[in-house]
């Protein structure tokens, strides 16, 4: 598999480290049901068969965290975005992940 880092270009899989689902969002620790929300955030996964938005770290490259959209059946990659920009825009627009 090859991932096109938006900063570094098209690179081999072994430059990257995988974290997991990018659609879960760290809950507000002050909310009353924080414990349940954190359990969901840390442990529960949709694990879809198909498109998956996921976090990767360009470990052997620019050290950017990336949001990769990928089909987990075919490994086809539809898009790669810098996680920082995704996060910032989600924070401004308040969009749910």
């Amino acid at each position: 598999m090859r991932i096109t880092c938006p900063h570094c270009g098209n690179r081999s899989l072994d430059e990257f480290i995988y974290l997991g689902d990018a659609t879960v969002q760290r809950p507000d620790p002050a909310r009353p049901d924080a414990l349940a929300a954190f359990v969901d955030y840390v442990y529960q996964r949709e694990n879809p068969v198909g498109r998956h938005r996921e976090l990767w770290y360009h470990n052997a490259g620019c050290h950017a965290w990336l949001v990769v959209t990928r089909d987990v059946r075919t490994h086809e990659i539809f898009g790669v975005e810098p996680a920082k920009e995704v996060s910032l825009s989600e924070k401004t627009t308040g969009a749910a992940r």
Binding site: H7, C8, G9, R11, S12, D14, E15, A60, G61, C62
Partner: protein
């Protein structure tokens, strides 16, 4: 040079003397030397200050800080892209012994600076076999159509994180390798290059 009162030591003793390694007949097809005597500083733009930093650098050094993996050089200082809003600056230690402080003084408002002059070993590789040898460790397309002088890449070589850039069309490549790994890097390079014959010249 008041701040370098202690002796400097290379991380790769094998690169400190002239030698011919591997295949002995014919001209060496790989030429390797360590680049010593350099100051290297990491630059990371402060939040929202990337534009101001670039402006200030332009004013001071007459160059545009690259926003893509490229290297620019002016007045004896080279700036290499090192990640989003990050660069490394390289210059002659004899001229800029406290380069990090110099940069903090001039640009401290816009960026954070970290001295890296001792963190990395810089190794220059050239010769007709250089692309072929490098390909045994570096998973990048270094064909002249794909990688040209002043192109920079952050990647790995034989399991070791490196920054690689090309400085001329001969071609000559430079590797910046974490100092602790430099000797393993050399082991790989010399193993892979032996079949072509390697000429080692001491650091410059």
């Amino acid at each position: 040079m008041a701040n370098r009162t202690l002796e400097l030591r290379s991380a790769v003793p094998e690169l400190s003397r002239n030698s011919r390694i591997g295949r002995q007949d014919g001209p060496a097809r790989l030429v390797v030397s360590e680049m010593t005597g350099l100051s290297v500083v990491s630059i990371a733009a402060r939040k929202g200050q990337s534009g101001s930093l670039q402006g200030a650098v332009k004013k001071l050094f007459k160059i545009e800080l690259p926003n893509t993996p490229r290297r620019v050089e002016a007045g004896g200082v080279a700036f290499l892209w090192a990640g989003p809003d990050q660069w490394i600056a390289i210059t002659d230690m004899a001229v800029h012994p406290d380069f990090d402080r110099e940069l903090v003084a001039k640009l401290g408002k816009f960026a954070s600076f970290t001295d890296q002059g001792d963190a990395r070993t810089l190794i220059r590789v050239s010769g007709p076999a250089s692309r072929e040898v490098i390909a045994t460790g570096v998973p990048l397309d270094l064909h002249p159509r794909a990688f040209q002088p002043d192109d920079v890449a952050l990647t790995h070589a034989s399991h070791i994180a490196v920054t690689i850039w090309q400085i001329d069309e001969e071609p000559t490549f430079v590797f910046a390798v974490a100092r602790g790994f430099a000797r393993s890097f050399w082991h790989w390079l010399s193993d892979s290059g032996s079949v072509h014959g390697i000429e080692v010249s001491p650091g410059t």
